[in-house]
């Protein structure tokens, strides 16, 4: 369901602004850290300068103030150490805080999206954005600035000093470093072409590994050669993409590194320096400055190069974060304007229309009234819109036309929490949370007494099973509580029972996921039905023959409405569905309720006959 966002092009400018806004809470700290780090970088030049000065004086035969200079060097270095430590602490902590802030914002946003957004499985994507992309981004935002400041300030001072000491030699050194730096900056641009592929490969790998872990039973059963094909493919693509990205700048990077390798720099500067000294141009002691400062110059520029790299990957990460933050949240009513559903708590479907964002219509005007305390069944072929209608009542998405009202108030005017105090649902395969069974049942009513929790579990026919767990109700799902799908379903029913909402939406297929306890669940549901408004998506028509109202949907329209016998008599769509089902399921059509050996024999005979018919049917 509608997961498409606005056009990406118009978002880039907004993105930059957004990022600035995201960064604001830690901006001061980052700026201060950058200043401190720049200062520290400047002070790093001290040992070289002092040593050259000491050398100059000693070579001139003067020992005047040599010790003072030595102490000055040590003092400045210590100051550098303090500055550097403070900057590092400040920016790292700002980093961690920013990541936390972003994660909170993102999860807050997730909580506001319509439930339909979560259909189709987005957990891999969510994990990748909230954890990995934030990690990428916070690093780029918080670290890059301080590192960049140091990378600019440090080399600037070094270059200035070298130029002052001996400008021809300085120019040669700068030329070497500039050559290497320009090669690697160009590479960064080329590498940017690969980041899309890398990001896609990384997302796919995350999704593939999640799928492998979750679908492991299927994989074990079916996978050829003991391989998980999607994982294998995703991993191969991930490595290939990375290798290709790296291969592009393999050789240029080698050249750049070699150009500024210590041996090369030392060789070039001393060879030239010796020549210059020989020509009487330079002072020998000047060479000391170059031997000390020339070698490390290139490495000092690395953060500039990395910053570019980080910015590129951060841009993609930011794009995904902003896209998620920009998903239109479900319209929430302003607290002041929220209305409480009135009494009676009638559910009114008023010309309900729904279409996907691509315009594909699912419901084309359905009107019905669900009176309090009645059972309404939704019937129709797959794709008729049954599930969509039920999900709209549970406000997984909002109607695109018409209205749904609860107690005469439009769902959109009811506060979300208020709505779910009145409407409960068992529509999808239920998910248990990784916490204790007790907490799972009491999810909506954390204050519920143990007796109430146990009573709900008993009513859902799961109490005995829970007590058999290692820690009973305190067993934690996924740790020592491993429940089957049907058992999890019964826990969900217990949860719904305990939540005690007056309106309940139910998918029969979901409710009866565990046939072995079907009778017990039926008793639970019968209890659930007492005094409540039920909307049931029905698959087995005989279970709803006593429903107060049956709504027959076909292609998004309400084609018939009425009670079982009336609809049968009408001989329309419902009657056809009924007839089709009776043919298909002989065991449920037997009208004689008495079970005797003779009846069973007869049933076997009937089934044998049906098997033959089925065989023909299969080859049709």
């Amino acid at each position: 369901m509608g997961r498409s966002g606005p056009a990406p092009g118009s978002r880039v400018a907004m993105m930059v602004e957004d990022l600035a806004a995201l960064r604001r809470p830690v901006r001061t700290r980052i700026t201060v850290a950058a200043g401190l780090q720049a200062l520290a970088a400047v002070l790093a030049v001290t040992p070289a300068v002092v040593l050259v000065e000491i050398g100059r004086r000693l070579l001139d035969g003067s020992v005047r103030s040599v010790w003072g200079l030595a102490w000055l060097a040590v003092g400045l270095l210590f100051a550098r150490f303090v500055l550097y430590a403070a900057a590092s602490l400040l920016s790292h902590l700002a980093d961690a805080d920013l990541a936390y802030l972003l994660r909170r914002r993102l999860t807050g946003q997730l909580g506001g999206l319509p439930l339909s957004w979560f259909a189709g499985g987005v957990s891999g994507q969510v994990r990748s954005v909230v954890q990995d992309d934030v990690a990428t981004l916070h690093h780029a935002i918080a670290h890059a600035r301080a590192d960049l400041a140091a990378a600019v300030a440090g080399p600037a001072v070094v270059v200035g000093y070298l130029l002052w000491v001996d400008w021809p030699l300085a120019l040669v050194t700068i030329a070497l470093v500039a050559l290497a730096q320009s090669i690697r900056m160009r590479l960064t641009v080329r590498a940017a072409d690969q980041t899309q592929r890398m990001a896609a490969a990384s997302t796919e790998l995350t999704a593939a590994v999640l799928e492998t872990v979750r679908g492991i039973a299927e994989l074990k059963a079916f996978a050829r050669h003991g391989r998980a094909p999607r994982f294998t493919a995703a991993a191969a693509e991930y490595v290939d993409a990375d290798e290709q990205a790296q291969r592009i700048f393999l050789r240029p990077r080698g050249v750049a590194r070699a150009t500024v390798s210590p041996a090369t720099v030392v060789f070039v500067t001393t060879a030239l320096g010796v020549a210059l000294v020989g020509a009487g141009w330079s002072d020998p002691v000047d060479l000391v400055a170059f031997a000390l400062l020339g070698v490390g110059l290139f490495e000092q520029l690395t953060p500039i190069y990395l910053a570019q790299d980080l910015r590129d990957s951060a841009r993609d990460a930011a794009g995904r974060i902003v896209k998620l933050l920009g998903e239109p949240p479900q319209s929430a009513v302003e607290p002041g304007l929220a209305r409480r559903p009135g009494t009676p708590l009638t559910v009114e479907l008023d010309d309900v229309r729904f279409s996907y964002t691509d315009g594909h219509p699912v419901l084309a005007g359905v009107s019905a009234t669900l009176a309090p305390g009645t059972v309404t069944a939704l019937v129709g072929p797959s794709g008729a819109g049954k599930s969509t209608l039920a999900m709209l009542v549970a406000r997984f998405a909002d109607v695109t036309g018409g209205a749904i009202r609860l107690g005469a108030v439009d769902l959109r005017e009811i506060d979300r929490d208020e709505l779910y105090r009145h409407v409960g649902f068992l529509l999808q395969d239920s998910v248990l949370l990784a916490r204790s069974i007790r907490d799972n049942i009491a999810l909506a009513v954390p204050a519920a007494s143990d007796e109430a929790v146990h009573a709900a579990a008993r009513a859902a026919a799961i109490d005995e099973r829970i007590r058999a767990l290692p820690r009973g109700y305190d067993s934690v799902v996924g740790e020592d509580a491993h429940l089957s799908g049907g058992e999890a379903q019964r826990v969900a029913i217990a949860r719904t029972l305990l939540a005690d909402t007056p309106v309940i939406l139910l998918d029969e297929a979901t409710a009866f996921a565990d046939p072995d306890s079907e009778a017990a669940i039926q008793d639970a549901l019968a209890e659930l039905a007492v005094g409540r408004t039920l909307l049931v998506i029905a698959h087995r028509l005989y279970t709803i023959t006593d429903a107060d109202q049956i709504l027959v949907l076909d292609e998004g329209r309400l084609v018939e409405r009425g009670r079982h016998l009336d609809l049968l008599a009408a001989g329309g769509r419902y009657a056809a569905l009924w007839a089709a089902q009776q043919d298909g399921d002989p065991a449920t059509t037997r009208t004689d309720p008495a079970v005797t050996a003779e009846a069973a024999d007869a049933a076997v005979t009937a089934v044998t006959a049906v098997t033959d018919v089925d065989g023909v049917g299969g080859r049709r």
Binding site: L58, V126, L205, V285, A434, E479, V610, T611
Partner: protein
């Protein structure tokens, strides 16, 4: 390169890796030599002996040439090595994931797998690049130190004073940060898992009402992640800063010693300056060592996590046979023929002949469970001496209460787990004597909680048999009535089914699973039947497909639909971890035992109607309820 990291190096890469490391070492030493040569060069120059200085430029040139060669050669070499390493790790992890006992996936360890795959593998493979920096940071200063001592032992000693301080700082840093790092990693993993849950359980959480409370667990995990991240920052600082401080002490010692020696005329100023330059050159790479040490520790813990996964004991495989897959059928057939005599009256009379044919025409591969006992790790014993013969080519229905071990039986046959005691034989061969590929080739599954992969419907069907032709896939789809599902999907056959198949209903997923099994065309079908999840119009059709799946195959069905139970050739009733009744529907009803009670209960359920409470629903049918 010790510990878990060493064990992860792929065997085929060992020799290239050693060559690579040797080359790096050579390069690192050459850089040291370049600095070492600088000392006599500078001394000569400062003393005014320019010609002598010029001669020392020649070895410098040689070192520069070595550097160029090394960067050219090492660049491509290191990429190739790290890529090969990553490929190998992914292959091994991919293989391991499928050999792990299913029970492992229920344990908390499974939660770490995504993190392991996305982050840890790349980290471990980056060791190749790290090694270059690390060896450089060690060998280059070591080489310089040799020169330094050769020139003047006092300056050498003064600069070496730093080493113990740096080492101490490294050790201290390791101790402080290791625990914080582990805590941060655990918190990140936990937060990731909570996020997946938060996104996956949104409807449930919202239905619970208090949206704030629904988020509490996630918020707590995120807060813990934040707290541990901050703590890690602080814990890693002393190590880092002490290292810095150590280096500064070293510089101070070096400078002061030099100045003292020079001012006391123990050392000529030219030589003093040259040696202090050498000393500083030696100390500089040590700075990087501190950071590299932290990186290596990170890699080691990544390696430990991967190693931990790779060394989870898989189910033991029989020693491989040289014949490979071709042997499988012969093996099964051969032993199967012998078995045909041994088994008692379970419809195996025709099996011996059937097994004579090679391949899947061996329509008679039966399954026997003999005195099987089984408990999930840390769980109670679920099967307590279960014996069951599942005759070839027939349908056996398993019936029993929830938790009676029905699903466990199918999982043991497929050898997702090994029995605690007793044996499971397929075609007369103990499943533990079959390679997992051999065994699984003869099995097709239809699980109850079908997990579909996030691909197209067609991909999911073909998953049962990658070699199937398009026609076979379509035919299987048609027979399982998947074509009707496809018809309503927006993109037809190309529609994706979503993570886990969530865009399809439960019934539709089951139909895809049946098509998958049909496509697989294996002689044994393990079927965990779904109920009530098929829409009315297709229910009959799916039954037809299931019936077709059952013809000429050995079927073990965990039966939920009464007509499936009735139709089975043999019904086995499970209770207390044993088969308590076995026979046909009529026989078992006549016995009036467990099965008869089950039947009455289910029959009552089948007649149940949902209605608003006031209607005296059940009271209408006392005969049905009472049996």
């Amino acid at each position: 390169m010790r510990g878990p990291l060493h064990g992860l190096v792929p065997t085929t890469q060992r020799a290239p890796l050693v060559r690579y490391l040797t080359a790096i070492s050579g390069y690192a030493v050459s850089e040291g030599v370049a600095f070492g040569v600088l000392a006599p060069l500078l001394t000569a120059l400062l003393r005014g002996h320019t010609a002598t200085a010029a001669r020392w430029v020649i070895p410098l040139a040689a070192a520069a040439v070595v550097g160029w060669w090394a960067h050219y050669y090492l660049g491509s070499r290191s990429l190739r090595l790290s890529t090969a390493w990553r490929r190998d790790l992914y292959t091994r992890i991919g293989d391991t994931l499928l050999t792990l006992p299913l029970g492992w996936y229920d344990a908390p360890g499974a939660r770490a797998v995504p993190q392991l795959v996305t982050a840890d593998v790349a980290r471990v493979a980056s060791t190749v690049f790290l090694a270059q920096a690390l060896l450089g940071a060690i060998l280059t200063p070591a080489t310089v130190a040799v020169f330094l001592f050769a020139c003047d032992w006092r300056i050498g000693l003064a600069s070496l004073a730093a080493i113990p301080v740096v080492l101490l700082a490294l050790t201290l840093g390791r101790r402080l940060s290791a625990r914080a790092e582990a805590a941060e990693h655990a918190a990140t993993t936990e937060a990731g898992a909570r996020l997946v849950e938060f996104a996956g359980a949104q409807p449930t959480l919202r239905a619970a009402g208090q949206s704030a409370a629904g988020r509490a667990e996630l918020d707590r995990a995120l807060a813990t992640q934040h707290r541990t991240a901050r703590r890690q920052v602080i814990a890693s600082l002393p190590g880092e800063y002490l290292g810095e401080l150590g280096l500064q002490l070293a510089f101070t010692a070096l400078l002061f010693t030099g100045v003292a020696l020079a001012t006391h005329d123990q050392l000529g100023p030219a030589r003093m300056i040259a040696l202090v330059v050498l000393g500083i050159s030696m100390l500089r790479p040590l700075d990087a060592l501190v950071g590299l040490g932290a990186a290596l520790r990170g890699i080691q813990s990544s390696a430990a996590r991967i190693e931990g996964l790779l060394t989870v004991a898989p189910l033991p495989e029989p020693s491989p046979h040289p014949g490979g897959t071709g042997l499988a059928d012969g093996r099964l057939a051969g032993v199967g023929t012998g078995l045909g005599l041994g088994d008692v009256g379970s419809g195996l009379a025709d099996v011996g002949a059937g097994l004579g044919d090679v391949g899947r025409e061996a329509a008679g591969i039966g399954v026997e469970l003999e005195d099987v006992r089984f408990a999930y790790p840390d769980g109670p014993e679920i099967l307590r001496g279960l014996s069951l013969s599942i005759p070839a080519g027939r349908t056996t229905a398993l019936v029993g209460a929830s938790g009676s071990g029905k699903t466990t039986v199918t999982r043991l046959i497929a050898r997702f787990h090994d029995v605690g005691a007793g044996t499971v034989r397929v075609g007369g061969v103990d499943v533990r004597d079959l390679a997992s590929g051999e065994l699984l080739r003869h099995l097709a599954f239809v699980f109850q909680d079908v997990y579909l992969f996030d691909g197209t419907v067609e991909d999911n069907i073909r998953f049962g048999n990658p070699d199937a032709t398009d026609e076979q896939v379509r035919e299987a789809a048609r027979r399982a009535r998947v074509d009707a599902v496809v018809a309503r999907l927006p993109d037809g056959w190309a529609s994706r089914v979503g993570e886990g198949g969530r865009l399809l209903s439960g019934g539709e997923r089951q139909r895809v699973a049946i098509a998958r099994a049909l496509c697989r065309d294996a002689p044994i079908v393990l079927l965990d039947e779904a109920t009530a999840s098929l829409d009315p119009e297709n229910e009959a059709a799916v039954h037809a497909a299931l019936a077709e799946l059952a013809t000429a195959r050995t079927v073990l069905v965990i039966a939920h639909r009464l007509n499936t139970v009735v139709r089975a050739d043999q019904i086995a009733v499970l209770a207390d971890g044993r088969v308590v009744e076995r026979g046909s529907h009529a026989e078992l009803l006549a016995r009036d035992g467990h099965y008869a009670a089950f039947w009455r209960d289910r029959d009552r359920a089948a007649g149940w109607r949902l209605a608003s409470a006031a209607r005296p629903d059940r009271a209408d049918r006392p005969a049905r309820a009472g049996g």
